[in-house]
């Protein structure tokens, strides 16, 4: 019964840590660390996710098979994300979207882009999946 009591109190501690990390991530988003912001936010999220997986989902005390399945899935997702990012970063010359990478603006909906023939009028979009008809 003593082991059960310690298990229950460790769950409460994990909840406390999760709530504290949530407050920290909200506070950290208030400051500007440049490109570090997203790394900090995802880093804190990963710590929280690990706490949930290890304690709430019992991976810490479970038979190793559960962890093997979980880690394999997460690793496949990592490979998926990495290869897709590499691919999209390597495509420098998208004709639909000329040299807008740094400005972040959608050139397709900016009226003054004479270099692109057939540029739609403002307010329209030529992204895949969105109709080109005027609204």
């Amino acid at each position: 019964m003593d082991a059960h009591a310690t298990a229950a109190s460790s769950y409460a501690k994990v909840l406390g840590a999760l709530l504290a990390l949530t407050v920290i991530t909200v506070l950290a988003a208030g400051f500007s660390f440049g490109s570090w912001n997203v790394i900090i936010a995802l880093g804190i999220a990963s710590i929280k996710a690990s706490l949930v997986a290890l304690f709430f989902m019992h991976l810490r005390h479970d038979k190793p098979m559960s962890a093997v399945i979980f880690v394999t899935g997460a690793a496949v997702l990592g490979v998926f994300l990495m290869i897709c990012t590499l691919d999209s970063n390597a495509r420098g010359d998208d004709p639909v979207r000329p040299a807008t990478r740094d400005s972040g603006a959608l050139a397709i909906s900016v009226p003054s882009s004479p270099s692109t023939p057939g540029t739609p009028a403002p307010g329209q979009s030529r992204l895949p999946g969105t109709p080109t008809k005027p609204r």
Partner: protein, 216 residues
């Protein structure tokens, strides 16, 4: 309670040799399902990452329409529900049947609060025309392309919301079985597996919250 003594045999399916084997098989099956769920949401996360890196200004501008406070409250509510869920599993394992019911009810209430807050957020977006794709009709934008952010916002939080609804349904089912007195230290696999599912839904929200609400 004599049910505790008999439940071990009562719920053992004929194709398993021992209750432990049955519990392990159930667990492996659940984890495999959870991995497919991770990959389902993973596709959306990868799409979000690529589109955000291509159009950072549109995404940054669009995320200002989200209420950070409501997102924060929802995160706290969901984390708390994860705690009450794990306590329900713990109570089932230690034969505290009344507590199982109380903790499952608390988890259901937290899930209801989460969906209620989500409804408030959604109706606010609907009124402002902050809708996905071609339904986007918000006026006075200085940065174009914000419809893309809301396509991802509604797809990701919507799919997550459906998972919450599904979770509430299976928690209600487990609650009914708990009230019937099915669970004891020798048989609590359903509570355990529903708990795993619920924690995964929580885990996905842990990533959704900073990505959607806290972009810099």
């Amino acid at each position: 309670m004599s049910a505790a003594a008999t439940s071990q045999g009562e719920f053992l399916q004929h194709h398993f040799t021992t209750p432990e084997q049955q519990a392990d098989a159930g667990k492996i099956g659940m984890w495999l399902f959870l991995v497919t769920e991770i990959l389902l949401f993973g596709g959306l996360f990868v799409g979000f990452a690529i589109m955000q890196s291509l159009h950072p200004r549109a995404f940054l501008e669009a995320h200002h329409h989200l209420d950070r406070m409501l997102g924060f409250i929802n995160t706290v509510v969901l984390l708390t529900s994860s705690y009450t869920m794990v306590m329900a599993v713990h109570s089932a394992r230690t034969d505290r049947r009344k507590r199982v019911i109380v903790y499952l009810l608390l988890t259901l209430i937290c899930a209801g609060i989460f969906l209620g807050i989500k409804c408030v957020e959604y109706s606010h977006k609907f009124h402002e025309g902050l809708l996905p794709g071609r339904f986007y009709s918000h006026k006075g934008d200085t940065v174009p392309g914000q419809f893309m952010f809301f396509s991802f916002y509604f797809m990701m939080t919507g799919l997550h919301g459906i998972h919450i609804l599904g979770g509430m349904a299976i928690i209600a089912w487990v609650l009914r079985r708990a009230a019937r007195g099915d669970f004891s230290h020798s048989y609590y696999t359903p509570v355990d597996l529903v708990g795993l599912y619920w924690h995964l839904v929580d885990l996905i929200w842990i990533y959704l919250f900073p990505l959607l609400y806290l972009i810099q």
